[in-house]
Chain length 144, copies 12
């Protein structure tokens, strides 16, 4: 089983980006944690990041045929991109949506995710550990 973990715009800055909101863990540290939990669960984990909406669509399209599930934190594109949602629907790979902060405690435009309606599951507000929780939850769902 292979899981693709996609991080969207500005998540490459984690650790220094508004740390009172997003915490001080870097994306590299999160990816190390994901590798550890992936190994524990017996699944292969691949991590990708891009600031470009089109590149994220390309990543998702490229996952077809080789990936069993996607953990995605599309950052700000979560709130505006219908094209990423379409890509996820087009490849028909189950996905779990992650946000570091509790998006429902933030400004109005962040309280709606365009991706959520098509997701298997969503979690937010757990900070960096949210990624591995989502990985655990998605793998459990795929194995059920």
């Amino acid at each position: 089983m292979k899981i693709l973990v996609i991080s969207g715009p500005n998540l490459n800055l984690l650790g220094t980006r508004e740390p009172h909101i997003y915490g001080t863990t870097t994306l590299a540290e999160i990816e190390r944690d994901l590798a550890v939990v992936g190994a524990e669960l017996g699944v292969q984990v691949e991590c990708r990041q891009s600031n470009h909406e089109g590149a994220i669509i390309d990543m998702i399209q490229g996952a077809k045929g080789s990936v069993d599930g996607i953990v995605i934190n599309a950052g700000a594109y979560s709130h505006t991109s219908l094209a990423i949602r379409d890509a996820l629907a087009a490849v028909a790979i189950p996905y779990a949506e992650v946000h570091l902060s509790n998006i429902f405690a933030r400004e109005p435009q962040r309280r709606h995710s365009t991706l959520a309606a098509g997701a298997r599951a969503l979690l937010c507000g757990f900070g960096a550990p949210g990624y591995t929780l989502a990985l655990r939850g998605l793998v459990a769902a795929l194995r059920a």
Copy 2:
């Protein structure tokens, strides 16, 4: 560390209640899983359920002073009860919100949670395992 797990209206029917939406696991089975994970994490887990909004408020008020975190699935009251949110704010105990189904893939009135803005974190759509994921995530956040 002690965690209170509160389940709201109609969750006592889990397993038989609209199983295509809520799954076939019963609340008793979920509580057994929570006990196992609580033991693993070294925290005490207490589970309560009620169909009465007032009784849930009483439970939350009663937790003050003895409980360190709350995992709450307030069922339909999640979408309508400001009084439960006030109780959670009044006792100032961090809480994580859980939903079995992906509420953002359901009818409009279920896509907004009155409790979410005050929560530490929220997860939905992971089914019965969502309870133990929330427990793990909340304990991690409290220990951080």
Copy 3:
């Protein structure tokens, strides 16, 4: 065949409660009429009333397995309670919704019923006789 008739908050005051809106027939008189029509139709009729949302949920849950249809006038909870609707969906018993007054000729907040979308049928504005009309209609639908 057994029909449960549920009346919600403030309906115990029928006859004296704003009689220009709700009429002068008491709930006891309505229940007598329901017994008469139930006998005519060959169905057992049980009548319950409560001012407590949680108690109404308990009633509905308790009906599972022994009741074939529900006639419900949830009073003000019709307009605010998603938890009662969930209970009705959870037990999967067909129900008809009744209101004494024409709710569409009243204040805006009374013109929407949270229960209606899940109901088999709805009637309003017929006053006290609306209960027996709903009983007739629901029994006919169940027998069809």
Copy 4:
């Protein structure tokens, strides 16, 4: 006592029109049932149907002076016609509104009836028997 029963656009197709929504009973069969119940209640029942909004207004205007109550299923005009509502107000004849399907469980534009605020009573979702229930209810109200 004379009751006029008006059916609006496309109701002449009942029985073959989207039978999963509207049932398989024809309008002629409904009118026979209305005649039977009218006889039982001792009231004269006259049935009219038209696909033309203007013709329905003419029918209502023509009822003034000879009709004591109107049972009306204005079909799609229920949701769009203020002119039919004005006609009903102009002749000042009490009326009950009927819909075969539960309009509150359908698309948004069908969940609001322009006629409802002026009606004595409304019922929906009882299928073809809804017409005779409305007749019973309206006659009872007029005799009260």
Copy 5:
């Protein structure tokens, strides 16, 4: 100069229709007043009434080439008919809109006129004399 005066649905009932709103003057009396004022102004006045939206459209289309201005009280169709507005635009004859009652002091759905944006002028609330005021005002505008 020829002016066509069109009255829409239910205006044939003026005098008996909700007289507390629409007054006790009949349409025939209004038409006599219009004839008198038309003679005074030296214009020909023709009066038509229909309850049918399509017939009103036909009237307007028929006016092309022979009518210089239209005074129209489209009754309830004022609030719902885009087709009548299109007919008025298609024949490109200037028109003044009249309402007997002050539509801005009534229910919300009567406070917007679909015809108003295309009209030369609008008046309401002057009762039956509003027709002749509109005639005077429209003729003055056409002569200016």
Copy 6:
């Protein structure tokens, strides 16, 4: 009988102010026409203008006891001032509202008049002659 004619902000500039919208007639010319028609009707006409909302309120308050009707074109205050409406209600003098242009063919914020709901009547779009039409209509209504 005495009629007060009030003109609001920027109406002192009539004739030069956006003449494609408001025409080329000056306020002085309109006041002369009002005097002529007032004499014809046998009523005393007094004309006032101010750019100050408070001054218009003072004018209206001052009219109590000596004025039988008010013709008011409150200009832009028509769309924003609840205080002028309150003054009109406080003195309980019937009033007709006038606008030179057809406000329903203009920008959205001009399509709603705060004063209209309390007015006896409203007219707009007749240009400068609208003032005398309103005077005629209001006097007729007061004499009826």
Copy 7:
């Protein structure tokens, strides 16, 4: 295969009606083009026009059993008529919706079509040739 082409209110005026919006081609010319393309495609084309909503409903009902597809330009009724949509659903004949102008570049009330959600396809803005394009497209879809 037989295709019915229905044109709604004011389309009989095509060629002279607001030609800057609707062009200078007459309905008769469009019908001749449709006949030519119908012959090319080997389908029978029948053209009807009416200004009356009820008459259009009658046309649609009359098509049942003899017509395989409908091309409809319901004019202004496209934006207001639920009854025409119901008729189309009742006869269950696939239809394509046509508009001469690009309705999405016009006033807000023209940007929503009540008929569109039930249509097989929609096109607008191609002017008179839109009718034959719709015919081609609908025939292709029916043959696929």
Copy 8:
């Protein structure tokens, strides 16, 4: 004269509950102040609190016949409960609504009170002394 003072959910926690919003005075202290002012005014004051919506309805129903006025701070139920409003209307006892904080300076969902439209009067933002101000004001109104 007897006045019932009802406090709703979470008000039993006053003094420790979010003291920056609700102050440090306890409900017991408020009730002592009410007793003192009641004695001064010569009225009997009875104080009740509950976290249960249904129990508050029961309290209000029980007041019928023995209570002349109600001072109510329904806490979060002020913003969501139509059933409490119905109970107050059903017993037809005048009531004044109290809030400790200025609800209009808080989150949007707290800026609307379901109870306010039926109240004799409302006050908010005066903190604990608001209860005795409301008592004074209500008694004055009842004696006027």
Copy 9:
């Protein structure tokens, strides 16, 4: 301690202005009551009234440095004036807002106060005694 009491437009007409809404007490009588209660509380009370928004702003600006609290009933300007709110914020003097009638039981546009969000407290519906209640409450708050 000095308290400024400001009354806005049309409040000079109290006693005769719509007495079924605003009561029969005059502003002079209210001011006498305020003087009495001010003396009882040991505070200086100054009363001002104006129909001019700008003049009210001037009054508020003039209060800076000499006034400790403001009781304000801005009448209709409460619902429309952001400039008065800015003046109150600019001088940073705590204020309590008063309305004679229960604004939440009136027309929609009166149910929102632009001033409320910046106020220390608000009361409405107590009639003329509301002014002295507000004075008592504000002085208590300032002394706390």
Copy 10:
């Protein structure tokens, strides 16, 4: 004459992407059909596809000076991209908008196209043949 045909995000997956919505024809097949029809019409057709919004803007800018018309199916960007619309306006090349599915029969967010208001024409719901219909219609419009 040269026509550029632009396909947006996820349209490279046509044929396998949600075929119950988008059909089983591939983009390569559509492009072959376009070449055939282009040859028939005597116009040069160039086809481009990208998942990147910026790349589509670059394509449009690059068309200036060499392309006479654009057929564009911007996929999900149709509903969210103002920048693509601006590019189309900036180069001032007439364009027709195409959608494979009937976007008005889908989820709310797909029922509005940001591009439509600037388009010459729009068609949707004809499936793969919609591309060649749009080509025919656009060429006809350009030649008219």
Copy 11:
């Protein structure tokens, strides 16, 4: 060339008014800066301030014929006054709108300016220097 600089309500308090929002520069200092920059640019600058909406309208009307451009910071009236906008349109003098704070980062009611749609240009958030920037920009535009 002469430029009129108008400052609206509460701007006379600049320097002491909420300095965390509006800064510590006084209006007199701003006016000195404007004189300096005016001299540099070779234009005459006149500065006026008022708290009265009507007085601002009078100022604008008085500018006709002698003023070439207006720099206006209408303070709170920017968000509520249609009459000031009408005055600016009536005199047809180009104007630039200035705000000291970034109004788009403040409360919702400040994020819309009634004056903006008619302005040549708008700037906000630059603090006191915004006035001279606007002067420079407006003069450049007038000279272009």
Copy 12:
């Protein structure tokens, strides 16, 4: 001090792009003016342009550590991109927003900027000189 000037989609076409809206100055000319004013102010100015949202995010991220302020005209992305706003917040560099046209005088979707709430300042409508005005204003703010 170094200032980065970012121009978004379609701004590379300035001079030829809809010149009645955006003027005839090219982006190269604007950049020359910026260099001149930058030299006058003693700051280094770097100019970048891209049609790609992701590339603009990359530019902003790359500015961290070397740039003191950003002048940004994000073109159409101003109205739709939350990701660009997040990038600006992530690098925490103060920025001023520029638009060539007065966006508040254009179509509704252009009247809201997603970037504005986080900006230090905004200006629009000054045409090409707006860039240098923004540069002056931003440098002044950074030096203050």
